[in-house]
């Protein structure tokens, strides 16, 4: 770029670095880096936070080389549908390659956040040893490690501020891992061990948190009995975020009042979660802090509607509510009346497989919330029935949705009154909610809904589709529209080869595409792989019958397909059920 050098040299590098530090998003910094060589050089040396949405999109060593001053890294591994057991357990997503490269090139790393990755104890030991100023470890939906690995972190990370373990599968082989925090260790701000299954030594925990004056978040696991919660809370009255342990106890005359006063003593509490086995007996102990709560997660508490209503109607400042469908429509109507600041609602199914009596949670609850909560922008709702009329009302009431995920639990369920597909309802949502970034569809849907989505969902970044559509047109509408689409995941839809091949270029503008139990053939995948060298086309066939995939004919159906853009080429750690086509 002629003249580029000259004007960049008008200011010393440090000035440009300072300017870049105001760029809010990585995308902005990426854009700046493309302006001229000087800016590329300056920007890369001053970027200290990286986000890698797909761990296989780039070689770890390349990332480390490009941004040598990184202090905080976030990396994601397996595709989202791994959460629902659709991805083979040995698919990949191992963290070792990244941790090794980071240990080599980013010795000053302070924060590491991994999601859906396989993290071994060796990885944790490497982290503990190599990053002298390590402060934040966040593992979400990961697996492969044990409490022995956590012991290494505890023993060696002298400046650890956050240990955030969220919904991981952790093997319990080291009961006393928490004792490995040295007596001098006092820097914890966040400790989330809710997902650990084993016993926690509460006395050790008490001493640990007692010496951490900056502790703001403490989320316990279900092994911590209610009686001990009292003692813990007395040590950390400054707590902002509490995850209780087991919220039930044998009858104990003084426990209620002790608990009540311990909780009341935490004057800064804004977020509550946990509540395993919660019953009506001890729930009122938290009434005193309800008014200050902004976040309440009762989604593991099997409380019934009336108890929930009594509790939630006191939470006038609630912004986030996660609850089970036991709240029923009546409960949601009460929420709509009380929680005017509600922004995010998630309603989980207490009985997903329909073996019990039906719960009275229907479209009415959703409509009530949409009408009563003007700030609502994020919804996850599991239910068994829906109507287009209800969805139209919701769309009209809430044009500000950024995330709308509706799961009608029986596939192909139509509008239960008109027996029509729910195309009209979901179309209304995408047409009304101009800022919608995430959408999950369910119920009986034809290609028409995809036409609306393709045309209207201009901000949509993630779309999840299951048991929907009539044919290729549906997928074509999506891929030829939705200009900001990043992640598309599809299961059990009659989408085939043509829309994939016709929209091959689109796939390079997206992070990833997952398709399982659709109508894609091997031949199309081969063509796609040949045409698009910057895509990894992974074919996953678990049944392994007959010939190996290389010898299968073009018309061989593909069970599962995962396509993602990458500059790293095909990965080398594929298991036997995964083929990367070239």
């Amino acid at each position: 770029m002629v003249g580029g050098f000259r004007w960049a040299a008008m200011f010393p590098d440090e000035v440009w670095e300072h300017v870049f530090s105001f760029l809010p998003a990585d995308a902005d910094r990426n854009a700046a880096a493309l302006v001229c060589r000087a800016w590329y050089r300056i920007e890369r040396r001053s970027r200290w936070r990286v986000f890698v949405g797909n761990c296989y999109a780039v070689e770890p060593a390349a990332a480390v080389r490009r941004f040598p001053e990184v202090r905080a890294a976030a990396i994601k591994g397996k595709p989202h549908f791994a959460d629902f057991n659709l991805v083979p357990s040995d698919w990949g997503g191992g963290a070792e390659a990244w941790v090794e490269a980071m240990a080599e090139g980013w010795p000053h790393l302070e924060e590491l956040r991994l999601k859906r990755m396989v993290v071994s104890d060796d990885c944790l030991e490497l982290i503990a040893r190599c990053f002298k100023n390590f402060k934040v470890l966040s593992l979400v939906s990961c697996e492969g490690f044990s409490t022995a690995g956590l012991a290494a972190i505890a023993a060696n990370c002298r400046n650890l501020r956050e240990l955030d373990l969220h919904e991981n599968e952790v093997e319990d082989n080291c009961l006393h891992w928490m004792s490995h925090f040295p007596e001098s260790f006092a820097s914890l701000v966040t400790l989330n061990i809710a997902c650990l299954e084993g016993e926690v030594n509460v006395s050790v925990l008490e001493r640990l948190i007692g010496r951490c004056p900056n502790l703001k978040t403490l989320r316990l696991n279900h092994s911590v009995p209610l009686e001990r919660l009292v003692g813990l809370l007395h040590r950390v009255p400054q707590l902002v975020d509490l995850g209780t342990g087991k919220f039930a106890a044998q009858h104990h005359p003084e426990l209620f009042s002790k608990l009540e006063s311990a909780i009341a003593g935490c004057k800064n509490l804004k977020s509550l979660s946990g509540f395993w086995e919660a019953g009506p007996t001890y729930l009122p102990a938290i009434y005193s802090v309800c008014e200050g709560l902004t976040s309440l997660n009762l989604s593991y508490a099997t409380l019934q509607g009336p108890e929930l209503i009594k509790l939630i109607s006191r939470c006038k400042n609630l912004q986030r509510l996660w609850v089970m469908d036991l709240i029923e429509d009546d409960g949601l109507i009460a929420v709509a009346a009380s929680c005017k600041l509600l922004q995010e609602l998630r309603v989980f199914p207490s009985d997903p497989y329909g073996a019990a009596q039906p719960i009275s949670l229907t479209e009415h609850g959703l409509v009530a919330i949409s009408a009563g909560c003007p700030m609502l922008h994020s919804v996850l709702y599991f239910c068994r029935q829906m109507t287009n009329a209800a969805l139209l009302t919701v769309a009209k009431n809430c044009p500000n949705f950024t995330c709308f995920r509706l799961c009608i639990m029986e596939p192909h369920t139509p509008d239960y009154i008109t027996r029509q597909p729910l195309d009209a309802g979901f179309s209304a949502i995408v047409e009304s909610c101009k800022h919608l970034r995430r959408l999950s569809l369910s119920g009986l849907l034809t290609d028409l809904v995809f036409k609306s989505i393709g045309a209207s969902a201009n901000c949509l970044e993630m779309l999840s589709v299951a048991f929907a559509g009539d044919g290729d047109a549906g997928l074509h509408y999506i891929l030829s529209g939705c200009k900001n689409l990043r992640k598309l995941e599809i299961r059990d839809c009659p989408f085939g080869d043509k829309p994939l091949l016709d929209n091959a270029a689109k796939l390079e503008t997206m992070r990833s595409l997952w398709m399982s139990s659709c109508s894609v053939t091997l031949g199309a995948c081969r063509q796609l792989a040949r045409k698009m060298p910057l895509l990894n086309v992974e074919v996953i066939n678990e049944r392994k019958r007959g010939l190996p995939l290389e010898l299968q004919p073009d018309n061989c159906p593909v069970e599962k397909l995962y396509i993602y853009r990458t500059v790293a080429g095909p990965r080398s750690d594929t298991p036997s059920c995964v083929w990367i086509l070239r």
Binding site: G92, D122, E277
Partner: protein
Amino acid sequence: MSPSPEHDYTGGAVEDGALNLKETELRLGLPGSESPDRDDKVGITLELLSPKSFVSGAKRVFCDAIDAGSAKWGFSAGEAGSEVDKGKGSVLFTPKGEGSAGGKPPGLGRVGNDAAASGQVGNSGKSHREVAPAAKAQVVGWPPIRSYRKNTMATNPPKYKEDVDGKLGLGCLYVKVSMEGAPYLRKVDLKTYKDYRELSSALEKMFSCFTIGQCNSQGIPSRDGLSESRLMDLLNGSEYVLTYEDKDGDWMLVGDVPWEMFTDSCKRLRIMKGSDAIGLGKFRQTEILNNLQSELLKGSDAIGLAPRAMEKCKSRN
């Protein structure tokens, strides 16, 4: 001698299609003589147990365990859902569900069916809560609920207004599976399998990368490391045995009891090296079993297994 129909360990009358005690009966048969219709079977039927005891007790070889050609894990070979090869091996005791062609268990196994069955077992005569009418096969990964949530709810099921015992079939039954030498353990949902064959097949897939040690440092198997035939070779000598911890905390060999009984009582699974499992296989003898054993060992390759079950059964009586 045909089995008495009221031989029901639950104490109540059980119809065909529901939990059928015939599965725990012991039958002698010549090698290769399994047939779908058990009533036709010629041979001696031994009823060692009183109706009240719940477990088979006698040594019972899991279907095809001694199948010389293709033993894996001490389990039957072949993929889930495939036909049982009736010609193979000398199977002594075959529960009704296992040896029959097509491997179809008596009406149970899938979630919907389990829900229906749980309404009957142990509650004969008592009017149980209404159960979902349609018994559907459970679709993998649907509804989209994260495994973590499913596990947590399985250990803490919701208590419904009229559900007295709170034992609601949540449609999943996650148990941990660990294996000696494996760097981490896995969880399986027992409700997604309808018989031991499916379970063993799934476990093989899950753990095959650990057995031969062809994993790279990430614990992820490399492509060229592994094939099913190699796995079979390794396991041909029944080097690995599948065991489980039951409700009482005892470790038992998998395969002793009918599938449904197993899923009800299994708390966790462990894949042990065969040599370590010998303790479990130690045979505590009684008069009856002595006689039984000598009868059975005539002209067969029986390997005695599951005496722990017998122990428990005896102590119960």
